[in-house]
Every structure is written in structure tokens, then in C-alpha cells.
Assembly symmetry: C2
Homo-oligomer: 133 residues x 2
DNA sequence: GTACGATCTAGAGTGCACTCGAAGTCAAGG
DNA sequence: CCTTGACTTCGAGTGCACTCTAGATCGTAC
């Protein structure tokens, strides 16, 4: 199997924003907040040049955000990656911690769903009883 | 079976806040935002007197909020209840709509959980391989 | 060389849902 | 009567995560 990922591919901020589904404003803001695991290199003219793996990194950040992780957690995780190998136990603990909070969130949502479903069923039955459904 | 709920029981704002697990500030703010299905009566001195069913109402609002419903949805729902019977179909549609969004949320969280779990497993295996776990 | 779109920085603005502060009123205990 | 604590209104402040603006610069296409 050939490698299908071109590891020499780089992205401009506009390209990366489009591919990652975030705004260029957000990318600059993420950088300022320390959410990248290494400094983003620049062209001689000062423009950002993102490495090919930035997309995967942003995908992971996106999953963390989507699941309710605060920016501070992404910052902590980025700092661990930035510090280099040797802190895998800490990275694991951070991810496991978020996984637990995710479990709690899912449980809570399922409970809410049940309550709302029951309430809806009440209205549904009332409508059926009156021949309106 | 005797009725175990005292329907004549009323609550002061402080009591209700404590029982419902919200702040008195929030109760006043909810009222100002039109989140109650009827006007909250007052004593001659101007203090709010909440009816016994306010607790159940707040529990429902709490479930809706906990599951990501914006205040606007609670306001719309309260307006329907306030308008009285006859709009059960609309109430049902509103609740069903939120139930759908809840399904989507739960699915999304499960997908996030998978991604994060896989990432954590990577670190775990690396630690095991190095005899650190 | 100039037009044009993409990018740059620093900092201000936005939306949501509270959350708090100030200054005053009410009601029960001593 | 007086203190104390819960309550009142109104409006300002908070935290989060962007989101946008202004004004300048870069780089490619004509």
C-alpha cells in the first residue's frame, strides 16, 4: 500500500479554515490561546503555514469542543503534546477524564429524553382521545 | 390511595429556589423572560407566592435546559401552556422537535466518545509497551 | 505598476444565560 | 420599637467562545 497522505502538503489559513470547518478568525484565536501543539511557522511575508497534520489536530479539538470540553482543557492537552513525549500518562488521564464527563453527559441526555418523551406522549394521547390524531 | 401531594402548599421564592436547585435571581429572571405559564401571584406586601405545581414546572424547564434547549424554546412552550388548552398539537410538535435535536446530540456525543476513547487507547498501549502501565 | 483578494495585527463587539450589586421594603422574634 | 434576614426593583457585570472591524501588508495576475 502506498502512503495516501501527502505529508509535505501545507495549508494557508484560508484553506485550513475551509477544510476544518472553522473561521480564519477562530484559527488565529486558537493559536493565541495556545491550542496548537507547536508554533505555526510563517512565510517571509508573515503568513501562517500550517503543516498537513494540523487538519487532524483540529479534528480532534473539534471533537473535544463538540463534546463540551472547555478551551482550558484543549489548552492543557496542547501543552502536554507541545512538551514532547514522556507525559503520555498525563495525556491519557486528561482524555479519560473527559471520557467520564462524556459518559455522564450522555446519561443525563438520555434521562432528559425520557422525561420529554413521556410529556409528549401525554399530549399525543390527549389528541388521540379527542380524535384529533 | 390518598393524595400525597398537598395542592394547597405554596412556596416563597427562597424555598422554591432551594427545592428546584436554582438561584432566586434565576427565578425572577425566568419570570421576566416569560418562562412561567401563568402570572406569579404576590402577597399584599409584594412578595411572590408560588403554587405547588411550580416545582414540577421548573423540573420540566430544568430538563429542557439541561438538554440544550434555548430560553426561547422554553418561552414558546410557556406561551402555549399560558394560552390554555386547544393547542396541544403545537405543544406536541415543540416537544417532538426538541426530542429530535436530543437524538442528534446523543448520537454526536457517542461519536465523540468513540474518537476520544480510541485516542486514549493509543496512549494506553504506548504506556503498556514501555512497561509503564 | 497597479488592482485585487487573501492575510496580517490589535482590539472591540456579540450572544447567551445568568449573576450580582445597590438601595430600599417587609415580617417575625425579642 | 428594633433588629435581622428574606424579600423587592432596576440595572450593571460576568464568563465563555467566539466574531468582527479597521487599517495595513502581501502576493499574484494582468
Amino acid at each position: 500500500m502506498d502512503d495516501v497522505i501527502d505529508t509535505t502538503r501545507t495549508f494557508s489559513i484560508g484553506e485550513l479554515a475551509r477544510l476544518a470547518g472553522v473561521s480564519v478568525h477562530t484559527l488565529r484565536w486558537y493559536e493565541a490561546e495556545g491550542l496548537f501543539p507547536r508554533d505555526v511557522p510563517r512565510t517571509s511575508g508573515g503568513r501562517r503555514v500550517y503543516a498537513h497534520d494540523s487538519l487532524a489536530w483540529l479534528a480532534l479539538l473539534g471533537r473535544l469542543r463538540e463534546s463540551g470540553a472547555p478551551i482550558a482543557l484543549l489548552r492543557d492537552y496542547a501543552a502536554l503534546v507541545r512538551a514532547g513525549s514522556g507525559n503520555e500518562a498525563e495525556r491519557l488521564a486528561l482524555l479519560r477524564g473527559h471520557e467520564r464527563s462524556l459518559d455522564a453527559q450522555i446519561e443525563s441526555l438520555i434521562a432528559c429524553r425520557q422525561v420529554i418523551h413521556d410529556k409528549a406522549r401525554g399530549y399525543q394521547e390527549a389528541l388521540v382521545a379527542r380524535g384529533l390524531l
